[in-house]
Symmetry: D2
């Protein structure tokens, strides 16, 4: 930690900081610049937060040197985390595609979709059973009935199931049915929910909040790992910017950035990332070329009749066409699609 | 609702839309432009969401005409909502100041602060008992013990208590101790929490999410009102932008904007809005001049020892000095400070 | 400057940095943390830019300690800069209001507006003669004819004239007619234009770019001062954010922030800052309460017939009403309106 | 154009709008909803801007139906624009890579770089001769000397030259030396500069402004085409968002979005888009997978000694390694690298 004092700060001020830092076990290094005094402090990073030195009137700024996260960092674990689910490995050589509708709407809809995406090369079925919606007047999900339909689709197709958990009270229920628990973008900093899912033994897909920085996102993953669950995947799904043509701005640079800073797998969601189905195939290919370990994408048999997110859903035919292109691309990149027909 | 068709769309497409809209009870107006066909549809706004017309390949865009909110709008209620709490009225002529520390830390800290802010003219005591923090390694609040200390400070000073509820499982507990329940910025779209607080009979202060649009914010208030609780206040606390000098960008234009679109009171939080205590007095005055019904501000006896948010907390002396200036300003605006000594 | 090395960097790397820094005349402080090596360097800030140390593969980050601006900072000049124009002083005790249409459209329009805003208490007439527009098909301004009409309005009313210069080739021409040269938001980092206006002896109103940080804005002012013109005013006019209800997000926290960091006056433009005329009076009052030295606002005799920005223009009557409220507020703040009738 | 009236607007208001629209040659279509009156107007889009209907107090909003751009749109020209420069075609099947230093610094530097990037497969040499910098104290470019060095490098290697023009007074000079004129991000809406480059017969690479929407960017291209120069390429180089880990947020979704709306080629700049050299190879591959027609990337023999942008520059070796991977990827996508060795 570097502490820069304001002009005019003198010995008394330095003395006061010294005492505080010493009490917390920090070692001090004083540096007298031409214009300003700079104090370097070395010690236990977990004690740093206890000192709110920027509240001191003669402190200009405090610059942390060490990252605030630990367990998620590549300094903690240099090799990639590979998450094993059934006979799948996420974060390894192969690319995984998770596909399905925004919401589970009916038995017919989810079973038809599951067969089609399986046939096209997906390995996971996605679908929402609990749907927190911007409007209280909109469809809110089939709830447990939806979870059962997802489980039934898994039975029929062999696809594994990923679905979102939105309420701390439902974690156990959702974990009973799902193979991966998804934390939605709006809940990325719902720390109580993070603590609850950390108690399960299910892998977690942690979506980036629409206004979350890379560091905040990594800190949210740190919550889950600190809670004892080390099977965490990041999912980039776009951030909120001034651009309104797309629903969000898909920030693919997070893929190599996360891979440089962390050992955890990275998945990309081009459906929420763009909000427009016709941009999804291009951004899916871009995500894989950027190094993503997988894709999660919205597919619906009749997007124009979907109860939610129809605008960004691929038809079954469009999904199948995209998967063919993706298989060629993945192969060229040396990272074959796990579910591709050979 | 206006539906613009892509170039090349013809009678068959118009026919298909007509049928769908008719099934939902909409009336149709067809308008043939030089280059494009435009369809106007008039009907029940609550059925709109059931039609995801933008998913149709030959629909260019759908433009809603009516706002998606209803209960929060000034068209629903033309006069201002005035929220009565004890002998206070929020949203009326008088300005209210809610002040206190970010976190309740100890009996001594909260009682000292309460006496001082009361003396300076505050009418409500703020203080967090449950503290969801970005880092799992940071202080997480005194929990129920903190609520009891707030209640004790109310006993001693007569200040009413506002505190945040962060977990659906704690709503009843917090409502037992607090006079106003605060929904924090990160929970603005935690719709399960909104539904729970809607069931209490306590007024709700709804903070704006750091990346929430005006419309999304109003929809979150609509959730609470739709759940049966009409005592809702908006609280502008800054949005996330590219500017990093301030912690957030305090968007004071929301004050007159909300007052034009809604009948609910508007409070401003200049502490989180700026993240720097030395900017707080100027922004407090600006908020009141913009028309805010009240201010919520962080005050701490020793900001440099605060366990959280010390950088943005006023000292007791700085708060008292600010309140003197605010009293003069409020008086000139014809909206006296409720708690000011006369 | 603080240089943090990556884990694993050793003596050879430190040695290399030492040599480079020494060549540029810096003094070095080495600090060996538990996990990382940190190097402090003290020297001439103008040489810093010559060293792109972050390009070194084993440098994790470089943290500048000193601000990159000098002439604009309060450390360079502790007292406020007061800009004298005619018998007006901007940056002193009195508040100035600059008002007029977005574009000069006709003799009748500008003369009528000038008389009305003078009568209501404005001291400067604003109006654009060169209008760079988003669309090539939109009205582009009356050019020199517009400047002449502004000068004529000055003759008639005694108001001084502020107008924008947009092209390096027009600086001399505009400076011939105007009392203050305005640099528009889109040109804030048009450094060639900044250098040209620095050569004139006219005061400069420097609008903030829609995506400019506080530091970039101050650096743009530094360009003008470095070019020899010390009469610079900042003008906050809103930044681009995700919120689309308002045209921009007016960032009033910049008023106290600039006043803390710089000695230059600060003006606020609530018209571009909101894009909606009905929000302008509230934001004007807020700006003055936040400490602004003046306001620049769009006024038009018939906003609905304006060739540009009608949506954000006040009518003459609305402007007059706002000025009455502003006079009361300013008086209460101890900063009377310069142009107010007494 | 759709005009929505506020509640309470009646016949007189409709009558007034009718008259105005009729005067401009529009045809009117009235639609009486349950709650609001809606007016549809069909006519010449170039007259739209003359009517500032949103300034009318009883108009709630005006919704344009037609895009404001014309020449750049795919509706104007359905086939892709292919720009021929020498024996290169940009926008055709082949991918082009433009590479070189941020600034031309010396003869040795630019010649060494040119040979290396040519050898690795680039077809264009980039390099700045005029460098507008954030700080007045930073290196500002070699100016005409830099242009001459670029021309010399072209002589030696056969690479064509792309370089930025920043001042209207230099357009002729730069056009004399360059094969493509670059409009930098900060100048995207410098409409005077756009008009000047439109007069040359050189192809233009138009960088996206850091806070420009897709529509504003297309309107800037419209300026150039309206000025008579149809050889325009878009260049996505990142937008400014709240994320600070990367210098900008590279918005690759603009590649398929532009290709759907416009016929002009799209280039991507991953160097400015990320600001970190180690993220550049991943984002280069992602850009090509997203469908970009080319890449412009910063390469420097010794990034740590570069006078500008060293942090985001690839070394010659890193560039060569990236090009090998890119050649494989491009081949798999059916769009070979123009400059690749076979």
């Amino acid at each position: 930690m570097i502490i820069v004092l304001k002009r005019g700060a003198g010995e008394a001020e330095v003395q006061e900081i010294n005492e505080r830092l010493s009490q917390e076990g920090f070692k001090i290094h004083l540096s007298q610049g031409v214009e300003k005094i700079i104090i370097g402090a070395v010690g236990d990073r977990s004690r740093l937060k206890a000192l709110d030195l920027e509240a001191l009137p003669w402190v200009e700024k405090v610059v942390p040197i060490l990252a605030p996260y630990k367990l998620v960092s590549r300094e903690f674990q240099s090799g990639n985390t590979i998450i094993k689910i059934g006979d799948h490995e996420i974060g390894g050589e192969e690319i995984h595609v998770m596909a399905g509708p925004c919401s589970v709407e009916s038995r017919a809809q989810i079973i038809e979709t599951a067969h089609a995406v399986k046939e096209a090369g997906a390995t996971f079925l996605r679908g929402g059973a609990f749907k927190p919606r911007t409007s209280p007047y909109a469809f809110q999900g089939l709830e447990e009935e939806g979870l059962k339909l997802l489980a039934e689709a898994r039975e029929e197709t062999g696809l594994l199931v990923i679905t979102e958990v939105v309420d701390v009270r439902d974690v156990e229920l959702v974990a009973h049915y799902a193979d991966i628990l998804q934390i939605g973008a709006r809940n990325m900093q719902n720390f109580f929910l993070l603590k609850e899912v950390a108690k399960t033994n299910k892998p977690i897909l942690l979506k980036r909040g629409p206004s979350a920085t890379l560091e905040e996102w990594m800190m949210a993953a740190e919550y889950i790992m600190d809670g004892g669950n080390y099977q965490v995947m990041f999912c980039e799904r776009g951030i909120r910017t001034f651009e309104t043509y797309t629903r969000n701005t898909l920030d693919l640079s997070m893929v190599p950035a996360l891979q440089s800073l962390s050992h955890l797998p990275v998945i990309v969601d081009p459906s929420h990332g763009t909000g427009r189905w016709n941009l999804v195939p291009a951004m899916t290919k871009a995500a894989v070329a950027a190094g993503a370990d997988g894709i999660i994408v919205e597919v619906h048999p009749q997007p124009e009749k979907a109860v939610s997110d129809g605008k960004q859903s691929l038809t079954l035919a469009n999904f199948a066409a995209m998967m063919e292109e993706l298989a060629v691309l993945s192969q060229a990149l040396g990272r074959p699609l796990k579910g591709a027909r050979r």
